[in-house]
Symmetry: C2
Subunit: 139 residues, 2 copies
DNA sequence: GTGTTTGCAAAGTGTTTGCAATTTA
DNA sequence: TAAATTGCAAACACTTTGCAAACAC
């Protein structure tokens, strides 16, 4: 593994998004685009930045998450009333959400199998289809 | 049509939920359980009560919506960050959400066709599966 | 009467915004 | 140095809470 990979990946993503590679955005991008599929809230990401000794204000984290989302680098998932999650996996897939731990995980398309699309009125188009399997812990 | 039907329906629902049929709850239940499938936010329901000249505080609307939900009379749908919808259709079904108008509609099960359930770890159980078809207006 | 419910206003949570100071190109 | 970005604090939208007054049984 090349130890410069995270840096290059982050820089590339930020520049492709037409954004300036500031210290803050680079730090956040390195945390987000580390190669794994991640699901973060603004608060989680802010704390992670803090933990890695990068001082970033929460407002900047929100800004960056939205800018990355607008650029197609992230996808916003609505599962929890009053809390937004951002997913680094932007390919088509579904989610499993644990209502106890509030943890969000990906499910591959073939784990669900949607056979039909609903009829949509002529003046609308399907933006996307969210499938959220809500689970609870037993006991 | 029996004009006493809405009253009896509301009373029955409230009493089955183990709640006292107060003026406020009766008014809200009549608005909600009118025989149609409804999707309301607290704010919408509050305004409807107001429009029908029943003075109810917003806090009471929130209380009632949660009490009805706990009693299984309503189902809460998370589609919009920072806004909760409540659905009077408690049978298994899916939703279509218009991101422009923020209107939420039901879709019957057979309009989608879920063929597979995902594997769940042994210490969890599926609570429910939410399918939300997100549409936008063309043009 | 006793316990429940209501309504208000205050507090809470997550998010957005205005703007001066800072940083980037 | 011109434009973009940051960070703070204030504002925001929605929801919940504490508690005295009102109500249901």
């Amino acid at each position: 593994m090349n130890r410069e990979r995270p840096y290059r990946q982050a820089l590339e993503n930020i520049q492709n998004a037409g954004l300036r590679p500031t210290r803050q955005r680079m730090a956040l991008a390195k945390l987000l685009f580390d190669g794994n599929d991640r699901h973060v809230t603004a608060e989680i990401l802010h704390r992670e930045a803090d933990d890695s000794n990068v001082k970033i204000s929460l407002a900047t984290v929100y800004n960056a998450l939205h800018q990355f989302t607008d650029a197609g680098l992230l996808r916003e998932i609505v599962v929890d009333p009053g809390r937004s999650y951002f997913d680094t996996n932007i390919s088509e897939h579904y989610h499993i959400f644990n209502e106890d731990s509030r943890q969000l995980l990906d499910i591959a398309l073939d784990q669900i199998g949607l056979t039909r699309l609903p009829a949509i009125s002529a003046d609308q188009e399907i933006n996307r289809i969210d499938v959220i399997v809500r689970v609870k812990n037993l006991i």
